[in-house]
């Protein structure tokens, strides 16, 4: 089986533009969450989001604008960064051996809602002609593939909040078993729309705006956590067989060594620690690692009451007494829950943690939940750590769970 290495990363989120920026912001506990600024903000009870408010880089032509829903635009921005770092431009010579595996929860929801506004609010009799190609869930993967000339398998994964973690895991297997030399993988989401935010609000799982500081509204593993904060963005990873990376002289940032997927099969929304534990155990077995080989976990930690509790329990179940020695953090306190992009964004932060041997904190964890009594790296990040291997957890409505494990690359 091929070893699978990471040769490029990219990210765009409310924390900023670029994988390095995202990690430095996370490490220093800078929040990308703030009062939401959208035309319909006044109609929402939930007042905060991890919204991208800065000007995006100008990477597409004006004539292509109608083709790009925000989820595809975020995708191409992150993918472009990862491809550049990896030293891949238009790889036409290897096109059949290069693929794109991308995750998104709801794809071009903004385009669909804009169409509904045209039809039902503006009383127009038609929607814009590119509504189909902009809104389809595979639009982001397809736009990436055609821009970089990757003509191998181009797949889109849509399983709510594990979508991009699933895409990464399946891309890992795709390369490992020799189906491709490289896969641009990751995920993107742009769901800060009136309809989607209203639907999340109705489910009563969104955080209450912190009355003193909106930036501190998401408090994973805290006793006073009130729910998740929606975010938007994308993250991309170039996964490559070790032989291909070495033949190209590509930079090797880390190695992906384990992937585990499971389903709770118990409830459509209520998380189940046994199901989560199955994903983590599968990832460890896949990596050939013992639980005590992991030093850091980037937790799913969405800051819901039930979710954080289940994750603390599942980590204890898998890691036993060693769980107390783990460093664990949820960076969602800072970049929000980017849904289908979450697995990829958090995996990129995990890679950056391995590369810098530093771990971002669980920000705003001032009142630890006594039921979540592990080292959740409260308030402050830690540098100069020894991280031999790191796990990134992603869990989703529908009961889906994914755990990914990466290590610093060591030539054996």
């Amino acid at each position: 089986m091929e070893r699978v290495v990471i040769t490029g990363v990219g990210a765009v989120s409310a924390l900023g533009l670029g994988a390095d920026t995202n990690f430095s912001q996370a490490l220093s506990g800078q929040s990308g969450i703030d009062l939401v600024q959208l035309p319909f903000s006044d109609d929402l009870a939930c007042g905060v989001a991890a919204q991208i408010k800065y000007v995006l880089p100008d990477l597409i032509k004006k004539s292509e604008g109608a083709l790009f829903d925000h989820f595809a635009l975020f995708a191409w921005i992150a993918a472009n960064e990862a491809l550049q770092q990896s030293g891949i431009t238009h790889d036409i010579d290897n096109e059949v051996n290069s693929g794109v595996f991308w995750g998104t929860g709801m794809g071009g929801a903004q385009t669909i809602e804009a169409g509904y506004v045209d039809l039902f609010i503006e009383n127009k009799k038609r929607v814009r002609p590119l509504s189909v190609v902009a809104s389809m869930n595979n639009a982001a993967a397809a736009q990436i593939a055609l821009r970089v000339g990757f003509g191998g398998a181009v797949n889109t994964y849509s399983s709510a909040c594990i979508s991009s973690a699933l895409a990464i895991g399946e891309a890992f297997r795709h390369i490992r078993h020799g189906y491709a030399d490289r896969v641009l993988t990751g995920g993107s989401e742009a769901l800060l729309t009136q309809g989607v935010m209203s639907a999340w609000e109705a489910l009563r799982v969104l955080a209450i705006t912190d009355p003193e500081d909106p930036a501190r509204s998401c408090k994973p593993f805290s006793r006073n956590r009130t729910g998740l904060v929606l975010g938007e963005g994308a993250a991309a990873i170039v996964l490559e067989s070790l032989s291909s990376a070495q033949a190209r002289g590509a930079p090797i940032l880390a190695e992906l060594v384990g992937y585990g997927a499971s389903n709770d099969a118990t409830h459509i929304t209520k998380p189940d620690s046994a199901g989560q534990a199955r994903a983590m155990r599968k990832a460890l077995a896949d990596a050939g690692l013992a639980a005590s080989d992991i030093d850091y976990i980037n937790a799913h930690g969405a800051a819901t009451l039930a979710g954080d509790q289940a994750e603390a329990d599942s980590i204890k179940e898998v890691f036993g007494a060693y769980a107390k020695s783990l460093m664990i953090s949820s960076t969602k306190a800072l970049h929000g829950h980017t849904l289908g992009a979450a697995g990829a964004l958090e995996f990129v932060l995990t890679i950056q943690a391995l590369r810098s041997q530093a771990v971002p904190p669980t920000a705003f964890l001032e009142e630890p939940d006594p039921e979540c009594n592990l080292d959740f790296i409260p308030l402050h990040g830690r540098t100069n750590q020894k991280i031999r291997a790191a796990m990134s957890n992603s869990f989703a409505f529908g009961g889906s769970n994914v755990a990914l494990i990466a290590k610093p690359f060591v030539y054996l």
Binding site: K61, K62, S63, A66, R128, P129, L130, V133
Partner: protein
């Protein structure tokens, strides 16, 4: 074809194309090939959609061959003329 004498919609077509494709409007002529401008079928579909709104006409189910810029203007002019006549 009387449209070359009566190019009522050509300036609008050229202006919108120039804006979409980020080109100097003076480089767009009636006989300019659409593909050579970089206007693929999707660009043309978008363009016609906005021109239909601008002139309050509908191409409907017609699928005219659109090769040069004037072809778009001709079709629009015909629809505008029919609308005025009715």
């Amino acid at each position: 074809m009387n449209s070359k004498m009566n190019m009522s919609s050509f300036p609008s077509v050229a202006k919108l194309l120039a804006d979409r494709l980020e080109l100097d409007v003076n480089t767009i002529h009636p006989d300019t090939n659409l593909e050579s401008l970089g206007a693929d079928s999707l660009t043309v579909v978008e363009l016609i959609f906005d021109l239909e709104d601008e002139f309050d006409v509908k191409l409907g189910d017609e699928r005219p061959a659109l090769v040069v810029v004037q072809d778009i203007a001709d079709n629009l002019d015909r629809l505008i003329k029919n609308k005025t006549a009715s």
